[in-house]
C-alpha cells in the first residue's frame, strides 16, 4: 500500500505503539484485498460483545489500553455496538457473573482508549447518520448496509479489531465499498410484491440476501411500491446482510444511488430473479410460527422509539405468561421510559433492556439457564442466527409475538 508521511510515521511508531499496532493490522488487511492506499474516515463503530472477544480479546483490548503509558486514544469519534448485557437486567437473563466481569473489563479498556460506549446497533437512528459519500469505518453488518445503502455513505464491514484500528489511525484501507466501481449493481431483482410489516420486510431482505449470495454482490431491487420508513429499511438491510453477507443494496426510486435504474448500472443487467409474496412466505416458513413458545424477543436490530411505541400499545391490558424481552439502545431507553412505553410493556410482564442485543448476550448460556428453546420474534436477522445457538426460532409479526407471550403459544 502507498503510505503518506503520517501513515509512515504511524508505522514507524513515531505516533505511539497503539497506532503502530493498528496500522500494521490495517496494512495486512489492505494488502489482502489489494488496497492501493488509505482513506480517511470520520467515524468508527466497534462491535465488541464479550462472547465474541472471549478472554483473549479482552486481554488484547486491555493491552492496547496500556500502550503508550496508558495514553493511547482514538483520534476520531469512535462508538460501540451493543454490549453483552444490560447490567440492570442481568439477573433476569441469568447471566453468570464471569461474563459480567468480562464486560466490565472491556468497558474499562474502551474508556481508557477514549471510545464512547454508545452500545447501539442503530446509531444511524440515534447518534449520527453519515451523509452521502462520507467514508466511515462501521462494524455491525446492519449498520454498514444501512449506512451504505440508505445514507449513501462508504464503509466495508469493519470487525472489532479493524474498527478500533480505524479509530486509532483515523483511516482505513481503500478497497471494497470505498471505491466507485464496487458500488455498481451486480444483480437485478424484480419485486412483484411489497411487504407491509417489519417481519415481512426482513424476510424479503433475507430472500434478496440469499439470491445475491456474497459480500461483493450488490443487488438492485425494482418494483417496490411506496416509501418504506427507516425501521422497514433497518429490518430489510439487517436480514439481507445476515443471510447474504451483503453490504450495499439499491432500491430504484428509493435509495440515493438509484434514483433511476441506470444510476447504479442496473439497466445494463438482465432481471436475474423475480421475487413474489410466495418466495417471501417460503423463507418465513423455514421458521414456522406455530406451537408452544418459551420466550418472545424483540431485538436485532435494537428497537427504535417508534417500534417501542407500537409494542407498548400492543401490551396494554395484557398479562404475559411467557417472558417478553424488548431490546433498545441507551439513547432510546430514556424516552421509552419518559413516554410511558416501558411501563406499559413491563406492567404486562415484559422487560425493556438497554444497550445489549439478544444474540450477542451469551445466547446459548441464557437459553440453558432459562430453559429457552422455542423463541418467537419478528426479527428475520435473529432467526437466521439463533439456530446455531440451539434455539428453535419462530418468525411472526410483532402482533402475533405479543399474543404468544400472553397465550404461551403461537397459533
Amino acid at each position: 500500500m502507498k503510505l503518506n508521511d503520517v501513515e509512515r510515521a504511524m508505522r514507524a511508531g513515531d505516533l505511539g505503539r497503539a497506532p503502530q499496532i493498528a496500522i500494521e493490522h490495517q496494512i495486512q488487511v489492505g494488502d489482502y484485498f489489494g488496497a492501493e492506499d488509505f482513506v480517511e474516515v470520520t467515524q468508527a463503530h466497534i462491535m465488541a460483545d464479550t462472547e465474541s472477544l472471549g478472554e483473549a480479546g479482552v486481554k488484547w483490548l486491555e493491552e492496547m489500553a496500556r500502550e503508550d503509558g496508558g495514553r493511547a486514544r482514538v483520534c476520531i469519534p469512535t462508538i460501540t455496538d451493543p454490549r453483552g448485557t444490560d447490567f440492570a437486567k442481568a439477573k433476569v437473563l441469568k447471566q453468570p457473573e464471569r461474563f459480567l466481569e468480562l464486560e466490565r473489563r472491556t468497558i474499562a479498556a474502551f474508556r481508557k482508549l477514549g471510545v464512547s460506549l454508545t452500545d447501539t446497533c442503530i446509531n444511524y437512528q440515534t447518534i449520527q447518520a453519515p451523509t452521502r459519500n462520507e467514508s466511515v469505518a462501521f462494524g455491525d453488518t446492519g449498520v454498514v448496509i444501512y449506512a451504505n445503502s440508505v445514507c449513501g455513505a462508504r464503509s466495508n464491514y469493519e470487525g472489532g479489531p479493524s474498527a478500533l484500528s480505524a479509530g486509532l489511525t483515523g483511516r482505513t484501507p481503500r478497497y471494497g465499498f470505498h471505491l466507485d466501481p464496487q458500488r455498481r449493481a451486480t444483480v437485478r431483482i424484480r419485486a412483484d410484491w411489497t411487504p407491509r410489516t417489519l417481519n415481512e420486510w426482513g424476510a424479503l431482505g433475507g430472500v434478496v440476501g440469499k439470491l445475491a449470495g456474497n459480500y461483493w454482490s450488490v443487488p438492485v431491487v425494482e418494483g417496490l411500491q411506496g416509501a418504506p420508513g427507516s425501521d422497514a429499511m433497518k429490518h430489510f438491510g439487517a436480514a439481507m446482510a445476515s443471510f447474504g453477507s451483503i453490504a450495499l443494496f439499491h432500491l430504484v426510486g428509493i435509495t440515493p444511488e438509484a434514483v433511476r435504474l441506470e444510476d447504479c448500472g442496473g439497466d445494463k443487467l438482465p432481471v436475474a430473479h423475480r421475487v413474489a409474496e410466495a418466495e417471501v412466505r417460503a423463507l418465513m416458513a423455514d421458521y414456522p410460527a406455530d406451537g408452544e413458545v418459551d420466550v418472545v424477543v424483540f431485538s436485532a436490530p435494537q428497537l427504535s422509539l417508534y417500534e417501542l411505541r407500537d409494542l407498548a400499545k400492543l401490551c396494554e391490558g395484557r398479562r404475559f405468561v411467557k417472558p417478553l424481552l424488548a431490546v433498545t439502545s441507551p439513547q432510546v431507553k430514556p424516552d421509552c421510559d419518559r413516554f410511558g412505553y416501558t411501563k406499559s410493556i413491563e406492567d404486562a410482564g415484559g422487560h425493556v433492556l438497554s444497550g445489549m442485543c439478544f444474540y450477542q448476550s451469551y445466547a446459548r448460556e441464557i437459553a440453558e439457564a432459562n430453559g429457552w428453546k422455542r423463541l418467537a420474534t419478528n426479527s428475520t436477522k435473529i432467526v437466521n442466527i439463533l439456530g446455531g445457538y440451539g434455539y428453535k426460532p419462530m418468525l411472526a409479526s410483532m402482533e402475533r409475538c405479543v399474543e404468544a407471550a400472553q397465550k404461551g403459544r403461537l397459533s
Binding site: 484485498f33 465488541a48 478472554e55 445476515s242 453477507s245 446455531g388
Partner: protein, 133 residues
C-alpha cells in the same frame, strides 16, 4: 498432485486434512466454538468437528463477530488449521490477520468441487498455492 492458485492469501504454511462443503461460514452462526463442531442444523457439516482441519467452503456468511472469534478460538486451540474459500468478506480477512490464521480465497473455478473431502493438502500463502497431495 494438483495445485490451485488463490488470488488472496494470508498466514503461515500449513498442511493437513481437507474438510469440504459447498456451504458458507460464520464463526457465530455456524459453530459451537466450545465443542469445536458445526452447530447450525442446516449446515452441510452439521455435527462434525472442525478442529485442526483445512476447511474448504464457498463463502463468508453473516456478521462481524468472526473478526474477534478466530483469535479467541486460536487461544484455546479449538480452531481450524486453515480456511479456504471461493470468496471472503473483509471480516474473515480481518479475523485471519488478527488471529494469525492461514487463509486463501479466490480461485479459478469452484474450489469446493476441486478439493476432495478428506484429501491431504498443503497451503503456501507466500505463493498463494493450495496443493492437493
Amino acid at each position: 498432485m494438483k495445485e490451485l492458485i488463490a488470488k488472496h492469501a494470508i498466514g503461515k504454511p500449513v498442511s493437513g486434512t481437507a474438510m469440504v462443503a459447498n456451504d458458507g461460514f460464520s464463526a457465530r452462526y455456524d459453530l459451537d466454538r466450545i465443542g469445536g463442531t458445526f452447530s447450525r442444523p442446516t449446515h452441510k457439516l452439521a455435527g462434525q468437528s472442525y478442529v485442526g482441519k483445512v476447511l474448504v467452503l464457498d463463502t463468508a456468511k453473516g456478521g462481524v463477530a468472526s473478526a474477534w472469534m478466530l483469535r479467541e478460538m486460536a487461544s484455546r486451540g479449538i480452531i481450524p488449521l486453515a480456511l479456504v474459500f471461493n470468496s471472503v468478506n473483509p471480516i474473515l480477512a480481518q479475523g485471519a490477520a488478527f488471529g494469525g490464521v492461514t487463509m486463501l480465497s479466490g480461485f479459478e473455478g469452484e474450489v469446493t468441487a476441486q478439493v476432495p473431502d478428506g484429501a491431504r493438502v498443503e497451503i503456501d500463502p507466500s505463493r498463494r498455492i493450495l496443493r492437493i497431495l
